[in-house]
């Protein structure tokens, strides 16, 4: 089932939450909505579900307008963060609760329950009460309940955020598998950008009432549309520093040109003020002092085992580098951070608006 929102806006009594949201979701797509807390992700999902009304705009399911329809007439199911399993019902009864109102024979309903429990590997626990299950198992039950209804659209609101890191990774894979096997349209809300990157066919980044960017995970990572997306996607977050470029295609950190620290820009860039974004993995220390490098002082080092994070200070700007190996360096020592020579590693943003600058900079990889 395809979903189309046109100019959807939502305001509560005192706050505007969503303004003019338009998006089309393809049938069978794994569509992820991310954004910081309070950005309106849940609100948008609940609008699609019919649990919250819109202030303006329309919603279409397969070209059928559903804007004013109650949830039960939208033929969808939903998974909640707190699982919402009825504590006095056992696992099988909870799963059945999601489809008991459909026009199905008792036999078919039983088959659906068995099928759904089998899908989430819980057939052995069908008589347990939710209290006797682990958090991961409870979330599987609530997944089974949503799947048993066999609706063409499934909505999930932060289904994994009550689980610990290991279970979360496991359930992430599980949900991806279920989506692949069943092929329903899946709209998935999270505030965890790792979940968004690893799960979604496409990601919608929501903030300040607006869609900040909509694209595939790699589009968002490689070509963030603005500073907000650049910082939101990727850990540790992208370094973004103000730079000044002079007429000789040299730049220095800071809002004023400092000749003694000037470094050549590896491609043609009109003179002016920019915000430069460089991913931490693209900002690595030089083995030997070179020309295209920024001198920096190490402020902190975090050894992650496989990676090393180096936090350094360059001309008053905080920078972070990620080195994909173990790397010994003392706090307080001086480093030369190599300026990446390839254009694709340079993310330039308008110093005023924060929007990505595309013109004048060759598009790496597009």
């Amino acid at each position: 089932m395809s979903i189309r929102l046109t100019n959807v806006s939502k305001g509560f009594e005192h706050t505007q939450v969503l303004s003019d949201i338009s998006v089309t979701i393809a049938p069978g797509e794994f569509f992820v909505m991310v954004g910081p807390s309070g950005s309106g992700k849940s609100t948008l999902l609940r609008i699609i579900a019919g649990l919250t009304s819109v202030t303006a705009g329309q919603i279409y399911f397969d070209e059928r307008e559903v804007t004013a329809l109650p949830p039960k007439e939208r033929n969808l199911s939903m998974v909640f963060q707190n699982y919402a399993l009825l504590p006095f019902m056992n696992v099988a009864q909870n799963v059945r609760f999601g489809l008991d109102n459909q026009q199905l024979s008792a036999n078919e309903k039983n088959k659906r329950v068995d099928w759904a429990l089998d899908l989430v590997h819980l057939s052995g626990l069908r008589d347990r009460k939710p209290k006797a299950l682990s958090g991961g198992q409870q979330q599987r039950v609530s997944l089974a309940r949503a799947l048993a209804a066999k609706t063409p659209l499934v909505l999930m609101d932060e289904p994994l955020s009550n689980l610990d890191a290991q279970l979360r990774a496991e359930m992430r894979a599980e949900i991806i598998r279920l989506h692949r096997e069943i092929g329903m349209t899946l709209i998935y809300v999270t505030h965890d950008q790792v979940e968004a990157m690893t799960m979604g066919d496409r990601i919608l980044v929501l903030d300040a009432e607006q869609i900040q960017q909509l694209g595939t995970p790699l589009e968002l990572y490689n070509h963030p549309a603005n500073e907000f997306v650049a910082k939101f996607i990727g850990t540790p977050e992208m370094n973004i520093v103000p730079i000044t470029v002079n007429e000789h295609n040299q730049f220095s950190l800071g809002t004023e040109f400092a000749a003694q620290q000037a470094v050549p820009v590896p491609f043609a860039l009109p003179a002016g003020h920019y915000h430069l974004g460089i991913r931490p993995e693209q900002l690595v220390p030089l083995a030997a002092a070179g020309t295209a490098a920024l001198p920096a002082t190490v402020a902190d080092v975090q050894q992650l085992g496989n990676d090393t994070l180096i936090f350094s200070d360059c001309n008053g700007q905080q920078l972070v580098s990620r080195i994909p190996q173990q790397f010994e360096v003392a706090v307080g020592s001086r480093l030369q951070l190599a300026v990446p020579p390839q254009k694709g590693a340079w993310h330039l943003f308008d110093a005023q608006t924060g929007a990505a600058i595309k013109e004048g900079v060759a598009d790496g990889g597009r």
Binding site: A49, P70, P71, M78, A84, L86, P87, F97
Partner: protein, 310 residues
């Protein structure tokens, strides 16, 4: 030699006992409990004991126990058709009262959880009887049912129905007493139920709404089981309250007509303080107490198994 040892052991043991008693007295808890224990003794345990004692005696008109009669008072009661009638009517009254209070309470609480404007006004109104004294309420209802100026009769007249005086027929009087009692109990039941309703996470209803369950089905399938501990608690409280119902009866019907509303608690009062049969009234009190204990025990034993506790 042996005796000496035994003596020593006995002395040691008694010393230990004394020390244990001293330890109790030195416990701060004892001093904190003392006021309540004293009050309970004076107003509950002593009268209780005295009542049990009196129930085995014949009393003079001043209520003093004068002659031990054994189980005679009890035997008299269980042969007295008036007492047996009172007993069975009390049971019916208590059951109808408790069930009605719970049902109407559930409906009111459900209404009060609707997201409507000015809901606070309704909530306050629904809970209003919490702050009304039983006597005032009884007088109010007495006015309502007054055969010449009462609102109920004026309304009956307005829609062309005959002007029946409910209070002069046995069934009518019972209906009025039940209405009054339910109305009085609703404020408390409503408040407790409302807070229970509000403790049910909204996601349950959202799951149900998406799955297509109607409002009514949601109340039955989600709310009622989720609040079953509260329902059970309220039912026990209302049953006990029902057995103790007094003020409404005294002010509205005085137990009549034809003893139709002479429920046990009221009959005890009549027998003790109007007819001065203190022995009989004491026996009735003991029977009522045993009844309440027994009924409550049954409820805990059989109903509580069906209650889900989170």
């Amino acid at each position: 030699m042996e005796a000496d040892k035994t003596l020593k052991r006995t002395v040691a043991a008694s010393q230990q006992t004394v020390r244990a008693h001293l330890r109790i007295v030195r416990q701060p808890a004892v001093w904190f409990l003392l006021p309540s224990v004293l009050i309970l003794c004076v107003f509950v345990f002593y009268p209780m004991g005295k009542t049990i004692y009196n129930s085995f005696f014949a009393a003079n008109v001043r209520g003093e126990a004068v002659k031990f009669v054994g189980w005679a008072n009890y035997r008299t009661l269980f042969k007295d058709p008036l007492f047996l009638k009172s007993l069975s009517e009390t049971f019916v009254f208590v059951l109808v009262f408790a069930v009605l209070t719970l049902l109407i309470g559930i409906v009111l609480a459900r209404l009060a959880t609707l997201k409507l404007r000015r809901m606070k006004v309704f909530r306050t109104a629904f809970a209003g009887t919490m702050g009304t004294s039983a006597a005032a309420a009884a007088i109010l209802w007495l006015f309502l049912f007054n055969p010449s100026v009462g609102m109920v009769h004026l309304m009956l007249k307005a829609i062309g129905l005959p002007n029946v005086n409910l209070l002069v027929t046995p069934l009518g009087a019972q209906i009025v007493v039940i209405l009054t009692s339910v109305w009085m109990a609703l404020g408390f039941a409503f408040l407790i139920l409302l807070s229970a309703f509000q403790n049910v996470a909204p996601e349950y209803y959202e799951v149900a709404a998406i799955a297509g369950w109607s409002d009514w089905q949601q109340t039955l399938k989600i709310t009622v089981p989720m609040i079953s501990p509260t329902l059970f608690f309220l039912f026990v409280i209302e049953v006990i309250d029902g057995f103790k119902m007094f003020a409404q009866i005294d002010l509205i019907t005085g137990g009549g007509p034809d003893n139709a509303t002479n429920f046990l608690a009221y009959k005890i009062y009549l027998d003790a303080f109007v007819f001065h049969h203190v022995g009989i009234a004491s026996a009735e009190s003991v029977i009522l107490t045993v009844l309440i204990i027994f009924v409550t025990w049954i409820q805990f034993h059989y109903t509580e198994r069906k209650v889900y506790y989170a």
